[in-house]
């Protein structure tokens, strides 16, 4: 990013910055200052680079390709048996008694082997076409077949307590790449899911910032105009991001007044708090442009919008979120999560699942292609996961029940092997048997891909060193490329 952007109208001298760093280590105004001035400090005064600060870009423990994460969270427990876990045996056993109640049910959809060698369901043709980038984890399992508990475990490793989210740990470990933006963004999280993006006992600065996209249909055939960022209430939103009264010029005058008042107090600012506030206003002022611009998809070309399936079709909604995720990732946000609801297919799967898949297929394929063509895929780890999978036996006619004992997630980019499949469930797909990967192992692997030894990434709280993987976790080394 360009350093000019960081210039405040009141340049902070090297000397005062050093003094601040010293005094700030005692705690006060620490977050303040460090979240803002680090990049500048690190650049023009190398000796200060070792100073710790919560959001400073940090080198991980080990060499790694992935620098950031886009997490595609599929809520409800998507059926692995009808998407990514091809089970020819289940076809033969169709109709026979299963282990649980109900009869075994083959997937009503065909699987085809892609050029990559992976077998992908006909429900996801576009993803099939980019499957040379996909690394399937088909031996997943998790502790409980209960949505909220399993969703909590997927995000925090713990089924029960409030613990820091994967995104918060990532930001804690790596710091942020763009000081104009929050480091952990979650797009359209459902109500009541705050615990999934919370920093819990990690400093609040690592918690996810929820961002709302309005997902209105996007008129591809004209009528598209660049929204006025001053207009509030009708565009993608971030709290208090625009002033309902002042124009840019007026607000700049007002911010200058605030900064002048702050400057005049600086001689009486032993702990650097005022410098922190000064920088925070400059960032806030810049965010007013940066955040709505990032969230404004109308600047994208028609070809890009099409690639993501943005338009009036079923994929419009999720397509916009995927595109926004790419924009955030490209701008340096460390962890972006997007959510897709509705995968809890207890019945009527023959209608529901094609609908759900048509909503995500084009957008996800578009995201992977777009990241690739921009040269971002190699350093961006894309993760696709739900909280658990579904049973091989039928429920309520043609539905499937929750299954925590075997399911599939996948990753792409970020140093994983493409066109690769790791782990297996048993012949019917009910239970992971080979290359088993518990959520703790999955977390350990993600951290490893980001360059962390999951046992070393710890935080001290209530007298104990906590980690994302608690006392568990084995890295699935097999999936890491060369």
């Amino acid at each position: 990013m360009s350093l000019q952007n960081l210039q405040s109208p009141f340049p902070v001298s090297s000397l005062s910055r050093r003094r601040m760093l010293q005094s700030l280590s005692s705690g006060f105004g620490y977050l303040a200052f460090s979240s803002l001035a680090t990049l500048a400090a690190a650049t023009d005064d190398r000796s200060l680079k070792d100073q710790t600060s919560p959001l400073q870009p940090k080198a991980p423990h080990l060499p790694a390709k992935a620098k950031r994460v886009i997490f595609l969270c599929m809520r409800g427990g998507p059926s692995h048996l009808d998407t990514f876990d091809y089970k020819p045996e289940l076809e033969k056993l169709d109709g026979q008694a299963g282990r649980g109640r109900g009869r075994l049910m083959k997937s009503p959809w065909n699987f085809t082997q892609q050029k990559s060698g992976l077998w992908i369901s006909e429900l996801l043709p576009q993803i099939g076409r980019v499957s040379e980038e996909l690394c399937l984890l088909r031996g997943m399992h998790t502790d409980l077949p209960v949505h909220p508990r399993a969703m909590n475990q997927l995000h925090t490793g713990n089924v029960q307590f409030i613990r820091p989210s994967l995104g918060a740990w990532t930001l804690y470990g790596l710091g942020t790449e763009n000081e104009n933006l929050p480091g952990f963004v979650t797009i359209n999280p459902p109500a009541g899911s705050a615990a999934e993006y919370s920093s819990a006992f990690l400093p609040a600065i690592y918690s996810g910032t929820p961002v709302r996209s309005n997902n209105r249909p996007f008129g591809l055939a004209g009528g598209r105009s660049r929204p006025n960022r001053r207009s509030s209430g009708n565009s993608n939103s971030y709290p208090d991001i625009s002033n309902p009264r002042l124009n840019d010029g007026q607000q700049r005058q007002q911010v200058d007044l605030i900064q002048s008042l702050n400057e005049l107090q600086k001689q009486d600012d032993p702990q650097g708090t005022i410098d922190g506030v000064i920088e925070s206003y400059e960032l806030a002022f810049r965010m007013q442009t940066a955040v709505p611009d990032l969230m404004d998809l109308s600047q994208e070309t028609e070809a890009t919008l099409q690639m993501y399936g943005i338009g009036n079709g079923p994929s419009n909604n999720f397509g916009q979120q995927c595109l926004m995720a790419r924009r955030f990732a490209e701008a340096g946000v460390r962890f972006v999560e997007i959510s897709h609801n509705g995968w809890d297919t207890h019945n009527n799967m023959s209608n529901q699942l094609p609908n759900l898949c048509s909503q995500i297929d084009q957008p996800i394929a578009g995201l992977i292609k777009d990241l690739k063509q921009r040269g971002l895929l190699e350093e961006t780890l894309v993760i696709w996961a739900g909280e658990f999978g579904r049973t091989p036996h039928a429920q309520n006619g043609n539905g499937r029940d929750h299954n925590n004992r075997g399911f599939t997630t996948w990753m792409a980019g970020g140093g994983v092997k493409g066109g690769f499949s790791y782990g297996e469930t048993d012949e019917t797909g009910g239970e992971a048997v080979v290359g088993k990967c518990h959520i703790h192992d999955w977390h350990a692997t993600i951290l490893r891909l980001l360059g962390f030894d999951h046992q070393q990434l710890t935080y001290r709280y209530a007298g104990r060193d906590f980690r994302l993987t608690d006392v568990y976790g084995n890295v699935a080394k097999e999936i890491i490329a060369g």
Partner: protein, 915 residues
């Protein structure tokens, strides 16, 4: 003291045993019955051989074949929270109660289910008559069941000697009375100063200067009442200070301590510690409409300087204390809300798991907040660092399981774990709610009964044949109806038989004395031996004495609130110090154990703890002695030499700069703008919203439709027609949704803002409010761009700036004096010359656009406020004077310019930080 027993026994009678809809009505019972049932059932060792044969040949094969796939630990399925693969699990039952009650077929839900009465198991087919008859035989012979879990033997790794050695740890020893050091210096004024300065001398710290009078006054006002000094207070304080600083401070402190606002400031600190909130949080976030009573209780306790030991006693065991009046009785009951306020996983399927998790939460908050130790660490294994064996946890869990926790919440499809509330005895001063007529009452009750019948009919229909074409429609109706029954029931429960509103509170009630089994790895299905009720051994010099008849809770409360407890007074003294000085003497306020920080000034901490007890556990007295010290008054200035010696300021050589908390920022903005409403609102927004679910920024509850009750007949023939009739009536119904926006808050003090878990008011969230879902020992003080955006763009900031601008225009005529007043109100000082200059420039240059409208009403009265000396503060110099500009328009221009300035001064760093 009056007779105790009569009141206490009366109490349990008055605590209305409300039934919250039949789906959930048996939860509490099932929890309490577990131990009882185990006692009544046949001991596995005494089962007759032919009984074993009967079970093995007739019962076990059916359970394995028909039930285990959804109800066994081995398969990992716990439908309805019910396991059927061990004897204990069958007796404990699931969500709806005990599966089998030995000797009693009718009370056994398993019997109900296999006969497809209210439940239908197995769901798709009925067992043969012969098998059903076998189950009857089995239950009537006492349900002999040889399947037992091998009881794990759980050995502690902590020896008695280690516990004894652990007692030598500093914080587990009684506070020591140390002589106050005598120093050869004129600086110290109080013993606190002597203790602090002694460390300076030892470490070569130089004395820094004192803060200015303005700064001291600002500290006092924010620290004690959470509001900025008024201009009147400032003028008087400055005058007094010139005469004698010490007496000026004393006078000011005594005045502030006596203000009602003191309770609002210090009550909030306590509410932080005890994770106060008005909703359950977690997966099914529903409201706690009665939580506010506990909030008000805490505020009043601090206002009235209730002795801290008494304060703790009431919160832990208020329901067990003798009382002299209804009012005191009310207070004591409301105080136990402390136990009931925690976050809850209300969709937990397993009742017993829910109870254990709730006890764990209660133990965690109690021990960390009151004792500064984390006992909950020992739930699954011996404490890793402190000598607290796992059995100590279960000894305490035994005490906590000897009570029922009452938090209310209404039945809905997700909420599997509702509870009763406690009816408040005597007259409720809040007088919430309107009475309803007896006729309406009766109509609603019959409507409720009808709805109950309907849901039962629909359920039976569904169970009879699950392959009907309209099964899903039926299921939806059952859900809808269940939710409506829950809402209507909870509304009706809010009235007594005369239709008068009943006042409730959250809290706890005593249950029968119980010992808990130790659970291997804390897992419910791994029970070990029983552990006698008791307190953590390392904190007790003598073994705990709890009589067999007592649950032990009162004894526990008395032990916590005792002057002999080595931790209680220290922990609170430390909290008070932390709130005033920025850091605690022990910086980990909730961890005085081995992993916590050691005290920076152990002698001072003990001195404060002892003094606290000596002065009758008076919070105000302890605060007073700290703020009257010279240590409180030292400057926040940097000092390079001192910094080199002690960069972390552990020796308190300078005052920590504190960022104001969210509440102080909001309250101060309201006070400055003149919009602050100092009256305590009755109840809270959540009380108004009533029982409901948190949906985004709204509470969605239920209310009665204004029209009268529908009286559709149920006398239809044929099952299908019954269903049709029911569906028809539901769509009419007596209940409609009630939506309450969480943004509709008044300008009352921030402590009265709704505290909804996972959905905090924006200003609270932005300024690091303590997350009420976990115990937060000290709030964050972040400085984020979101805070900048809040000051720049939020409606609230703009509204306060507008109001302040009006206040300035009304009070003063010249810009100079308006700026002077703004500085006094906002920052408690006069502006400097350079500040005046930049503001003057800003006001001149700031361009405003005002529509050209005719003069408004009231313009004449405002004319006097307009500068008439011809100066052009409010216009660009180059602009030609437009004679058409009306007076009103002139005021509007002035107001816009001043408002922009007012917003800026409140947005300045100085406003947010207390030097």
């Amino acid at each position: 003291m009056k007779k105790i027993e009569s009141k206490v026994s009366l109490l349990s009678g008055l605590a209305l045993c409300l039934s919250w809809g039949f789906i959930a009505s048996d939860h509490l019972c099932s929890q309490q019955m577990v131990e009882q049932d185990l006692a009544d059932s046949i001991d596995p060792d005494q089962i007759e051989p032919d009984q074993v044969r009967f079970f093995e040949s007739k019962i076990r094969p059916v359970l394995v074949k028909e039930c285990y796939s959804c109800h066994s630990n081995e398969v990992g399925q716990v439908r309805g929270g019910l396991w059927l693969d061990t004897r204990e699990a069958v007796l404990a039952g699931g969500d709806s109660g005990a599966a089998v009650v030995p000797f009693d077929v009718e009370a056994s839900l398993l019997w109900n289910a296999i006969n497809h009465i209210d439940y239908a198991m197995p769901p798709r087919k009925k067992l043969s008559d012969q098998v059903i008859e076998d189950f009857r035989t089995w239950i009537e012979m006492g349900a002999p069941d040889p399947r037992t879990n091998p009881q794990p033997s759980i050995k502690t790794t902590i020896s008695a000697a280690e516990i004894e050695a652990g007692r030598q740890f500093w914080s587990f020893q009684a506070p020591l009375s140390v002589n106050v050091p005598t120093l050869d210096s004129t600086w110290p004024q109080t013993p606190i100063d002597q203790f602090v300065m002694e460390k300076w001398l030892v470490n070569g710290i130089e004395t820094v200067g004192e803060a200015t009078a303005e700064t001291v006054l600002r500290r006092l006002c924010f620290d004690l009442i959470g509001l900025p000094p008024t201009d009147l207070q400032q003028r008087r304080f400055m005058r007094d200070w010139k005469r004698d600083p010490q007496s000026a401070i004393e006078r000011q402190v005594d005045e502030l301590l006596a203000l009602p606002e003191f309770g609002e400031r210090w009550g909030r600190h306590w509410l932080d510690a005890v994770r106060y909130a008005e909703s359950s949080g977690r997966e099914v976030n529903v409201t706690f409409p009665h939580a506010w009573r506990y909030r008000d209780y805490v505020i009043d306790s601090f206002r009235n300087d209730k002795p801290y030991d008494r304060f703790l006693l009431e919160q832990l065991a208020g329901d067990l204390l003798p009382v002299d009046s209804d009012q005191q009785w009310q207070q004591n009951l409301v105080a136990t809300g402390f136990m009931a306020l925690g976050p809850k996983v209300l969709n937990e399927r397993n009742a017993r798991q829910f109870q254990l998790d709730q006890i764990d939460e209660q133990i965690d908050v109690t021990t960390r907040v009151m004792l500064g130790v984390s006992v909950a660490c020992a739930r699954c294994h011996d404490h890793k660092t402190d000598p607290i064996p796992q059995s100590d946890y279960y000894a305490l869990a035994g005490i906590f399981s000897g009570m029922t926790t009452h938090y209310g919440t209404s039945v809905n499809q997700q909420n599997r774990r509702t509870s009763k509330l406690i009816a408040i005895p005597g007259v409720d001063e809040a007088k919430l709610g309107q009475p309803i007529s007896r006729t309406e009452m009766k109509e609603l009750q019959s409507e409720l009964a009808k709805m109950r019948d309907d849901v039962r009919d629909l359920t039976r229909q569904r169970n009879r044949d699950r392959n009907r074409s309209d099964t899903q429609a039926l299921q939806r109706q059952i859900i809808l109806l269940t939710n409506q029954i829950g809402s209507l029931q909870s509304m009706l429960d809010g009235y007594n038989r005369r239709g008068e509103p009943v006042a409730f509170c959250m809290g706890v009630q005593d249950a029968s004395p119980t010992n808990q089994r130790i659970l291997e790895r804390g897992e419910l299905n791994q029970p070990g031996e029983f552990v006698s009720r008791g307190f953590p051994q390392v904190l007790c010099s003598e073994p705990t004495k709890i009589s067999r008849q007592s649950t032990g809770r009162l004894e526990f409360a008395q032990w916590v609130a005792s002057p002999q407890n080595p931790l209680t007074a220290r922990v609170m003294a430390n909290r008070i110090w932390q709130h005033l000085m920025g850091h605690g003497l022990v910086r980990t306020a909730d961890d005085f154990g081995a992993t916590g920080d050691a005290p920076t000034h152990p002698e001072l901490l003990d001195y404060l703890a002892l003094k606290f007890v000596e002065q009758g556990w008076s919070t105000k007295q302890l605060i007073r002695s700290i703020v009257l010290s010279k240590t409180y008054r030292i400057s926040s200035q940097h000092h390079e030499a001192n910094f080199q010696i002690d960069p972390d300021n552990q020796l308190i050589w300078r005052r920590e700069i504190k960022r104001l908390e969210a509440e102080a920022i909001r309250d101060a903005m309201l006070a400055i703008s003149g919009n602050l409403d100092r009256q305590r609102p009755t109840g809270s927004l959540i009380a108004e919203a009533g029982d409901g679910r948190v949906r985004g920024n709204q509470i969605v509850g239920a209310q009665l439709k204004p029209t009268t009750v529908s009286t559709a007949s149920t006398s239809a023939t044929g099952r299908e027609r019954v269903a049709q009739a029911v569906l028809g009536r539901i769509s009419e119904g007596v209940i409609q949704p009630k939506v309450t926006s969480l943004d509709q808050v008044g300008n009352y003090r921030s402590i009265y803002l709704p505290v909804v878990r996972d959905n905090l008011h924006r200003i609270l969230e932005v300024f690091d409010f303590a997350d009420p879902s976990i115990v937060i020992p000290q709030r964050d003080t972040s400085n984020t761009p979101d805070q900048g955006l809040f000051f720049l763009n939020s409606e609230f900031a703009i509204a306060q700036a507008d109001a302040l601008a009006n206040r300035l225009l009304d009070a003063e005529e010249t810009l100079d004096r308006q700026v002077e007043l703004a500085f006094q109100l906002t920052l408690g000082r006069s502006p400097t010359q350079p500040e005046r200059e930049v503001i003057r420039q800003f006001v001149e240059q700031f361009e405003v656009h005002v529509a050209d409208r005719g003069p408004r009403r009231g313009a004449e009265q405002r004319r006097r406020n307009v500068r008439n000396d011809g100066s052009n503060y409010f216009r660009r110099q180059s602009e030609p004077v437009d004679p058409a500009v009306t007076v009103a328009r002139q005021r509007e221009i002035q107001h816009k310019k001043l408002s922009a300035f007012c917003q800026a001064i409140m947005a300045s760093a100085e406003f947010r930080y207390l030097k």
